[in-house]
Symmetry: C2
Subunit: 193 residues, 2 copies
DNA sequence: CGTCTATTTGAATGTACTCAAAAGCGGTGG
DNA sequence: CCACCGCTTTTGAGTACATTCAAATAGACG
């Protein structure tokens, strides 16, 4: 149940087995069925979620009712609305499952207790935040300068696992185009060989 | 010289005057003239820069030679290429000054010494990173779901000081459109009253 | 097998871009 | 102080890329 998390954390920071054991008590396992929500917009986001298996997504709904996906999370990734989680403000995002999934939840207060119990984890979450921020910068850069086709190719290259696991219309939403356009882009690409 | 920085930091964390004094020695003041560079792409980004006055920008140049602005920094803001700064990898960004400016530079090793000398600053930089990450998320969300006009209006609302200080073509680059399009959007908006 | 969802395709439309040129503005030097 | 130069902003005309609306086809799931 915690094997994946253990590998995930010790990839980034040094931790004795004993220290890791102390961590596990702060997490709560939850199974989330396809289409079930972990967060509805308007609620406060209470959890950091680490995905053991399955796939979740975080998205907004605009004034026309269209969804825009900000993040996918598959096995070995974290998902949350950090703004709401940190500030306690109601979220403007939704998080739901694209497949039956299992996550490990870390509540805000549990996280603080975790930092007390194993201070090295502060460093872990700082590193995690840094790499997320850098990834966000790259995505902004892409959105500004790349065509839809380029954005799709970058997506395929960056997240090959997601391409296999996630429906095409969800990927279209992530890169900011309609499913129809993505279908045409893929047709073009396969014509090029 | 350090007044602005002092106010900036103590807005976010508690710090005794004595502690703040210890901080100042790790910074180096530099004046940057309009069009001068703080970072050229291909170089490693050595500094975190705090802007005392003036205005800098960080941008990429795409394969067509067009610039895309990722960040502005005026008085009381930080600017750096965090990816390069943290990883030591050559940067793909440029940082230059849009106006004559004065910055306080914090080198990577100086920052580590600073953390030794005043551990509370670790917390400060974590908070800074968190708010930057959240802002980046909002910008991605905008880029996905909003029209050029909406993006401009959001920009005006979010950064009123920048609108006054920065040429229009630079704002166009930041929101991901051409200067011509922004000119037309503004004309439309003023026609609506 | 039937239903629901995802993908593909077509035709018409629209938003923003490109190319080109004019007008406006600010600073510099004669 | 004015003339000139460089840069920014505006405007026009034509174009391209992606969207919308609509419908057909393909796939997945019970």
């Amino acid at each position: 149940m915690f094997d994946l998390l253990c590998i995930h954390i010790t990839k980034r920071i040094q931790l004795t087995p004993e220290e890791f054991d102390r961590c596990t008590q702060f997490f709560e396992r939850r199974r989330i069925k396809k289409r079930q929500f972990l967060l509805h917009n308007g609620e406060v986001c209470r959890y950091l979620a680490f995905v053991n298996h399955g796939c979740l997504r975080r998205y907004t709904i605009d004034h026309k009712g269209d969804e825009h996906i900000l993040q996918f999370a598959i096995e070995d990734w974290w998902i949350t609305d950090l703004n709401s989680f940190l500030s306690g403000a109601p979220s403007t995002h939704n998080i739901d499952a694209l497949q039956n999934s299992e996550v490990l939840l870390l509540e805000k207060s549990a996280r603080e207790n975790l930092f007390e119990a194993v201070p090295a984890l502060e460093r872990f979450f700082r590193l995690l935040l840094e790499s997320n921020y850098i990834a966000a910068q790259k995505r902004i850069s892409q959105a500004l300068s790349a065509s839809a086709e380029e954005r799709y190719l970058t997506f395929v290259e960056t997240y090959p696992r997601l391409v296999k696991q996630v429906p095409q219309n969800q990927i279209a939403s992530y890169i900011g185009i309609t499913p129809q356009s993505l279908s045409r882009i893929r047709k073009e690409l396969s014509a090029k060989r």
